[in-house]
Symmetry: C3
Subunit: 351 residues, 3 copies
C-alpha cells in the first residue's frame, strides 16, 4: 500500500455534499460514496454494492437510505442492508463497508483504513483552519495527475517560486535566503525569512491593498508538514522595520495557505487548499482576488508536478538527487515511509 491508511484525509468541501445528492470520490484507492444524513452528519460507504458490484453512487437516496440502482438493495448509512427486493431474510454478509467520516475545520474528512482506529481527535488542529474565528479563508480543489508525494515536495521547497511563480510569488529574495529545517518524529518545519527586499508581485499588491504601503518588506515562509499529507504554510510580509522578525506581524499581511493533500490513486491527487488571512477580513472582493491569484499559482504547480510524473513514469526506479534545499522534502518523505512501514508491520503485511 503506497499510502498511510490509518489517517484522516480531506475528501470534499462541505458544499459538495448536499441534501439528497450522492458524491463519488476515491481516497487512497478506496472508492467511496458520500452523502449528508438527516442529522447533518456525513455517511461514507464503499461505492460498490456487495451483491453484483454496482456503483452505489449511481443510485438514489430514499428516506436516508441508499438504494442500489441495479437490483434495488437498500443500505443504511452504517452499511447495513435494510431491504433485499424479493427476499425477506437479510443475511449478515449482505453489507457494504462503512468508512468513518465527519465534517471538521470546514472540510469533510474520511478515514480509509481500520475504522476501529478512527479517532476524531487525530484530525490535525490546523492553524487558520477554514472555520477559524480569527481568519477569513477561501479556496478550492486542484486535481493533479501526479503522486501525492510530488505535491509535498513542491510545497516543502519553495525555491521553486522564483522560477515557477516568477510573476506572482517569486523573486530572488526566495533563493538568496537560506532555510532552516526542524524535524522530529511527528512534524517537519521549514522556515525562511527574507528581510528588507522589494516584495514579489503577489505580496506587493497585498501590502498596497492592505495599507497603501509600497516599500521594502520583510517576508516569512514557515512550512509545517503534518503527516501524513497536510501542509500548512504560515506566510506573509510586513513593511521592513515594523517588527515582523521579532514577532509583531500586526503591520503586515499575515496569511496562511492550507493544503490537504489527498491521494486518489498512486498517480492522481486532490489538493484541497485554502488561503486564509487575518487582515481586512470582511473585504469580499479581496477574498475573490486571493482565490483567483492562488488558483493561478496552483495551476503552475499542477503543470510542473504533472510534467515530473510523466518523466518518472518512464523509469520509476531512477532516484532524484537531493540538494541542501531538500532537507524538508527528505525529512517528510522519511516520515511517510516510516508510517507506511509501521502500518505494514502492524497488519503483518509483507514489507
Amino acid at each position: 500500500m503506497p499510502f498511510v491508511m490509518n489517517a484522516w484525509y480531506v475528501a470534499a468541501w462541505p458544499h459538495e455534499i448536499v441534501a439528497d445528492k450522492l458524491l463519488a470520490r476515491t481516497v487512497c484507492n478506496e472508492a467511496l460514496v458520500l452523502w449528508r444524513t438527516a442529522n447533518d452528519s456525513i455517511a461514507a460507504l464503499e461505492d460498490r454494492c456487495c451483491h453484483r458490484h454496482m456503483p452505489l453512487a449511481a443510485g438514489a437516496l430514499e428516506a436516508g437510505t441508499l438504494r442500489c440502482p441495479y437490483h434495488g438493495l437498500r443500505f443504511a448509512a452504517d452499511g447495513s442492508c435494510v431491504e433485499i427486493p424479493g427476499q425477506q431474510r437479510i443475511p449478515a454478509n449482505v453489507r457494504v463497508r462503512q468508512y468513518p467520516a465527519l465534517q471538521r475545520h470546514g472540510w469533510v474528512w474520511v478515514w480509509p483504513g481500520d475504522a476501529a482506529r478512527a479517532d476524531p481527535a487525530l484530525i490535525p488542529d490546523i492553524q487558520a483552519r477554514n472555520d477559524h474565528p480569527d481568519w477569513t479563508a477561501a479556496g478550492g480543489t486542484v486535481y493533479m495527475k501526479g503522486n501525492y508525494l510530488l505535491v509535498h515536495d513542491n510545497l516543502l521547497d519553495l525555491t521553486h517560486e522564483t522560477y515557477v511563480h516568477a510573476s506572482s510569488l517569486g523573486n530572488h529574495a526566495v533563493v538568496d535566503n537560506p532555510i532552516e529545517t526542524e524535524v522530529d518524529d511527528e512534524r517537519v518545519t521549514v522556515t525562511r525569512w527574507m528581510l528588507n527586499h522589494e516584495p514579489a508581485p503577489f505580496w506587493k499588491a497585498a501590502l498596497q491593498h492592505a495599507n497603501g504601503y509600497a516599500g521594502a518588506c520583510d517576508r516569512w515562509q514557515i512550512i509545517n508538514f503534518v503527516p501524513p499529507t497536510n501542509l500548512v504554510l504560515d506566510v506573509g510580509v510586513a513593511p521592513t522595520g515594523t517588527g515582523a522578525p521579532q514577532g509583531d506581524r500586526s503591520k503586515g499581511v499575515p496569511s496562511c495557505n492550507l493544503n490537504a493533500i489527498t491521494p486518489e490513486t498512486e498517480t492522481t491527487t486532490f489538493v484541497f487548499w485554502a488561503f486564509a488571512r487575518s487582515f481586512q477580513r470582511d473585504d469580499a472582493q479581496l477574498t475573490r482576488t486571493f482565490v483567483q491569484r492562488a488558483s493561478a499559482i496552483l495551476e503552475e504547480d499542477r503543470q510542473a508536478i504533472e510534467a515530473v510524473q510523466c518523466v518518472m513514469d518512464r523509469d520509476p526506479a531512477r532516484k532524484p538527487v537531493n540538494l541542501r534545499i531538500d532537507a524538508g522534502v527528505v525529512a517528510a518523505r522519511r516520515i511517510v515511509e516510516r508510517l507506511i512501514a509501521e502500518e505494514r508491520t502492524a497488519t503483518g503485511a509483507a514489507p
Copy 2:
C-alpha cells in the same frame, strides 16, 4: 482461456455480410474476417496474413479469393494460399486458419475452437428463432464494454427490471413474486409468474395495442439459458382470467426475447438480440415500435453492465454476494466454468 471455445457463437447478422464486402469481427479473442461466397455460404478466416501479419480485412475479394493488401498473397475461402506474387511454389505452411461458419436461424454463427468438432447440429434450436415460420422477429446488436458473464447475470435475474427498467418493464409485481429455478447439466430455466396485477408500461401498451385491453394481467418470464451463451426469454402477458397460467396464451401477447451473447474479448461483448412475437405478426409499425422500445431497454442494461465492469476492474478478486434471486445466475456460471474446465482437461492445458 476465459471462454468455451468449442461452441457456436453468433458473429453477425446476415445483412452484415454482403457480396464483395469483408467484415472484421472478433469472437472469443479470435480476430476473424468474414465474407459471403459465391454459393452463398459464409467464409471465415483468421484476420491476419500468415506472411507479415497484415489484417486481411483491409484487403479485397478477387473472384472469390481474398487478396492481402500488403504483398498481394491470395487465399481461398478454406484458408489455402492460391497465389504468392513473385513466387511459383506455394509452401504448405503458407495458409491462414479457417473457422467453421454458417448461417442458421437468421444469424451467422462461427466456431472459434477446434474445427474438427464443429458439428452444425450443435447450434441450439432456439425457440422463436429469427427465421421461425410462426414468429415475427426483429432486433439488433448492442456492444457492451463488459464481460459476457455480466450479461448472463443480467438476464438470469430479472428483478433488475423493477429498478433499471422502471419506465418500461419494471413494476413491483416482478420483485413481489418468487422465482423457480430448474437446473441440469445442460440448461438453466428460471420461471416467474406474476398473476393479476396492473401491467408494467411496456406490457400495458402491448396489450392495449393487441386487443384494446386495459385491465389486470397475468405475466410470465421463463428464462432459458442454453450454454455457453444463449439466453432465450419466453415472456409475455395475458388478461387475467384468460387461462395463461394454465397454458392458454391465445388471448395475450406471447413474446420471445432472443439473446446470443458473443464475447469479443474478456471485457467486451456483442449482444445479438431479437424480439419475436406470435401476435399481429404483419403489423410493421408494431415491429418498429418493439425494436425501439427493446433498444432503449438494452441501453439501460448496457449502462448497468459497464458500470459493474468498471467497479470490478478496480479489484477483480472481490467476490459478489449471492442472494436467493441469484439461483439461476449461480447455476449458469457453474455450467460455463465446468465447460471451460472440461476443455482445458481435454486439451491438456494448465487448469
Copy 3:
C-alpha cells in the same frame, strides 16, 4: 534492450533545431533535449533534471546554458551543473547525462549508447546524402506507430509496391521480376531489374517530365541496408535500350530514396526520409512535386505498418512465415539481432 544503442541515429532535421529553442525528442527510449549552441554545434542532454526529474525541455536557454524551469538549476551543454539556486557548492553528482550529437549529411545525429564509443566516422556515408553536391534532395519525417523493424521489412521487400502503391510505384513488373540478395556481416543489398516494361505512374511522370519520353523503360531498385537502421534505395528508370542495365543511366532519371529509421520506443518510429535526384536539379517545382508524391506513398506505408503492429500486439509471440522475397528482410533482421546480442554480451547484460 530492443535496440542497437551504440550507433548513430538521426534525431532531427537541422531546421528543427534553431537558435534559442529547445527540442524534445526520444531516440531508442532515451528522452533527449536538443539545442543549437553558439558555435553552431548540437547539444543533447537527457530530458530530465537530475534534481527532481523535471523535463528540461520545458525550461529555457540562458547564455548557452539550460535552466530547469522548476528549481532553476542551470546546466551547460556538456551536462555539468553551473548553478544551484540557494546553494554555493555544486556536488559532482549534480549533472545531467550528455549524449554525443552532431550535424552531418544534412541531418542531426545522436548516439544513445556509450558516449565513449561515439566515433563520428561511424556515421554511414550515405550515397546521395542530403547535402551531397551531385544531388538535389528534399524530404520529411513520418511518425509511425509501429516497431522500427517493420519499416525495415517494408523497404527491404518492395513487392508491396504493386499492392500498397498501385497508383504510383506499383505495377506487375515489380512482382514479375526476381530479386537478387547479397548479404555480408555489415550490409544487405537487394537488387531488382525490370527491363522493357510500361513504367508505373510515378516513374512514367518522371520520365515524361525529365525528357518528354513516353515509352517502355528499364527500372532498377537497389536497396542498401546499412545497420542498424539506415536504408538507402538507389532507384530509377531509363528509356529501354539506353544502356541503364549496362551502367549508363544518363538518359534516365537516377534517384535515391534515403531512409533513416529512428526508433522512438519499441512501438513508435520516426522515418526521416529524403528523395534525391541527379537530374533537373534546379527545378524547384519538380522538387516540391517529388516531396508531395513521396509523402503520399509513405502515408500508404504508414497505414500498412500500423495495421501490422496492431495485429502483432494481439499476439506478439506469433511468427511470420518467410517467403522467397523475404531474403533481404530475414538477413537484415539477423544482423540487427546479432548486433543487439553483441552489445548485451559486451555489457554483461542478461541475454
